[in-house]
Symmetry: C3
Subunit: 344 residues, 3 copies
């Protein structure tokens, strides 16, 4: 009996299957410190227990993207080991903050299948859910990937394409219990700009750039127990470079966005995202954001803002996104669409 995991192929996924992913993970102050070392993360709510306490929380949560990376990382051996491409995200919601000491697990339900016309691969849609040690959901999101077939003769499944929202409505967002920005300290947070100061359509160039090293992205990707071989094994490519985990670019861009969006504290929704072009060691990542929408919430002093976050390589023209042909500019690496909470 073969003992190692060959990964699943397209024909191994059945609509409605729920896959329980392995290796639960307790997160603690160590993961937080590493996150600060790996990314220029400075959002005060994730940096200071006192600041978070003044916002009504029980101390500073683990960064929302740490929760995402850990829940996502657990899915890799079951979902994307034989994936050709990570095609998209939708309907991502953070449901409960993760605190030091919490243990995360994740599972994925197959909600869509479509074999490609070439018969060699297909698209699999999964809804992944992360839960803590109390079985409370902390995050769920839909992801779809293109996966190779292992047996080309396996019959094509019935095509089922899930009906996904192009963007979450403000009503879909879950505001953490107790959250209040009524006593928010803008000086400690680092910027004076309130929810009311941002206009839909406004674009912000986040100014700073970070050049990425092999050691850094491998440390990060391993920390999330993401096992995709392309991130670690230099023998996959003739140039010896490793493909950087797309989530590393997300976290880097989000951290860079502090400069201009220091008060976009909590990420509560992921509407969509594209890893437009690969990122490699030596690339210098820059970021810009666009305000796509705004909404009020019931929580005291808390507004929601829908943001596009774009990461692009140094040298790309300002606010690069897509060309007239609708294709991403070759220097654009990430186009992310998310909801964050901001003081009003």
């Amino acid at each position: 009996m073969a003992k190692t995991n060959p990964g699943r192929f397209f024909e191994d996924y059945k609509l409605g299957d729920v896959i329980h992913h392995a290796v639960p993970r307790t997160v603690a102050e160590g993961e937080r410190a590493l996150y600060h070392a790996l990314y220029p993360a400075r959002h005060a709510l994730y940096s200071s227990d006192e600041f978070a306490g003044n916002c009504g929380l029980d101390g500073s949560p683990i960064d929302d993207l740490i929760a995402f990376h850990i829940v996502f990382g657990k899915t890799v051996p079951d979902i994307s080991l034989n994936a050709v491409a990570n095609l998209g995200y939708a309907e991502g919601r953070w449901l409960k903050p993760v605190y030091p000491g919490d243990t995360l697990r994740s599972s994925s339900e197959v909600i869509g299948l479509k074999q490609n016309s070439n018969g060699k691969s297909g698209v699999v849609w999964v809804r992944t859910r992360g839960v803590n040690q109390m079985d409370e959901p902390v995050l769920d999101y839909v992801r779809w990937v293109m996966v190779r077939k292992g047996d080309l003769d396996a019959p094509a499944p019935d095509t089922v394409i899930p009906d996904l929202k192009p963007s979450l409505d403000a009503d879909d967002l879950v505001i953490p219990a107790g959250l209040s920005f009524e006593d928010y300290d803008f000086t400690l947070a680092g910027e004076p700009h309130r929810w009311g100061d941002y206009d839909v359509g406004e674009k912000i160039d986040h100014v700073d750039g970070v050049t990425v090293e092999e050691a850094e992205h491998m440390l990060a990707t391993r920390l999330w127990q993401n096992t995709a071989k392309v991130h670690f094994d230099a023998t996959f490519r003739p140039d010896g470079k490793r493909l950087i985990y797309g989530g590393h670019v997300i976290s880097m861009a989000r951290a860079l966005s502090f400069n201009g969006l220091a008060n976009a504290q909590m990420i509560v929704g992921l509407n969509g995202g594209a890893h437009a072009n690969p990122c490699f060691a030596g690339d210098t990542i820059r970021a810009w954001s666009e305000v796509l929408d705004k909404a009020d919430t019931d929580a005291p002093g808390v507004g929601a803002v829908r943001l596009r976050l774009v990461a692009a390589k140094h040298g790309a023209p300002a606010f690069s996104l897509k060309g007239e042909d609708g294709k991403y500019h070759p220097d654009v690496m990430l186009d992310l669409d998310y909801w964050a909470l901001m003081p009003k």
Copy 2:
């Protein structure tokens, strides 16, 4: 009076001497997080407090190899600062799990001495013991190293070669108090293979490879407070590379062995080990294992498995070990022989 440590030379070791090594170390969640960032470690018992609790432990212990590296690291200034070679290990036993908050110290007793025929160096055998803040032993092992003489005129000591077991017997192994695999969750652990599914003689290719960077092995080696100069100082070699701490290769290979041995949870015995060839930054490490022996234990649901763990450079033929001349294949870096505990 010279203030810096010149290290000990062969003639400075006397049979029966006990050397108390410096710099006690409190380990905590930070060391655990870094271990997950440095190695693709996924054994569930060391990742999740809940998983470990279900196995009868008081939360998730610090990885057994962290305990080894820290206890070992403390010995370097006294044992191997002037070592020419690290020759072997024997009779290593993990005696008690290490938990966040524990403080480790170590000491070594000189149990063997043999001057080399060239008169310029000799072999020193030490039995090293690590203890926690309650003075409870957590680990002991025998190591022998070749050490230069400082004074070539110093008389040769009486030759004493300790009588060491080629392998620990199953009866020698210490099972952590309370350990039970009766409620073991194979899904969360990541693989279905039980102790009974492994056959003596079976070999497993662990598939994945990791390319190593200078920054990573230096971070790791410093974390264990291992001060051997060759790991940090690029001016030692004309190519500017640093010799990677052999323990870094051990941890990398052990973590890679998850793929096929996810249920070989706890390391309880170290029968022997050879750092067959050096490892340098840029090398891609792959690993394979061979089941050498199996034994039952008294703990509920717990079996023991004796494993050979081999790390080799990418490009080495499958299951490379030694040539017909008995010498290690030049791409083999590590040949380790250990006992692990597995659910039955």
Copy 3:
């Protein structure tokens, strides 16, 4: 309204202004572990809760230089984003140890201003204070930087040059409450040399060298939430190297100084410091110290020693400092003058 921080220019500083710096930071075991991974730090008081407890403290504090880096890092967006040069430090005092769980904030008062004769820049002196979550001061120090003018037509301020002590007196030093070295364990600390064994004028070559990598200094500098672009963005220089944060060199040199000064446990005063020449990835850092002064203290068994700590590149002649022209040797990177506490 521009949302991003352009930094302050010389004309933006007014004498007596107090700037409250953003992003409070809770420090914990993760930061400690990373410090041990980033630097060969082995001072026992910062490594072991038990050792620190035996010295009268409530467990092992966070390294004094972590406190410095975090307090300093917070000032960068307000003080040195447009700085041309970091000119000096004076009157630095550690006022209370920082423990895991503490949250640090910092503020700076403008205590001196002097426009340069070229009219394009000026020197700003600030006294920076770090406090914990109880508003207790943990550190204060004076720093002066040369800052560009944004508006060359802005009028020059009145010149005020603060009167700074060339060195703190022993009476200025604050000894942590409860500190006692009466039961100090020299074996566990790693060296037998007491305060009485060091002579004013004595120089110690710390022997070891560490070659620095890009990934390492960026991890460190980000960990302190220091946002200065030159440390992270390879596009600033044609050679793609990043200027290493001067504090990284301070921590590396201090850690190397363990070999010869293992008992110089606590840093309590910073008399001055010069970042004499830049440090880049690939440099191998070596260090030497000189005993500048000694003083007694009221704490049981505790003496104070004033030390010069010099970091120089591999290849620099032994004990390099300045040439006959009074200029630093081109391979000298750091010349630091500090007070530490030592067992008598």
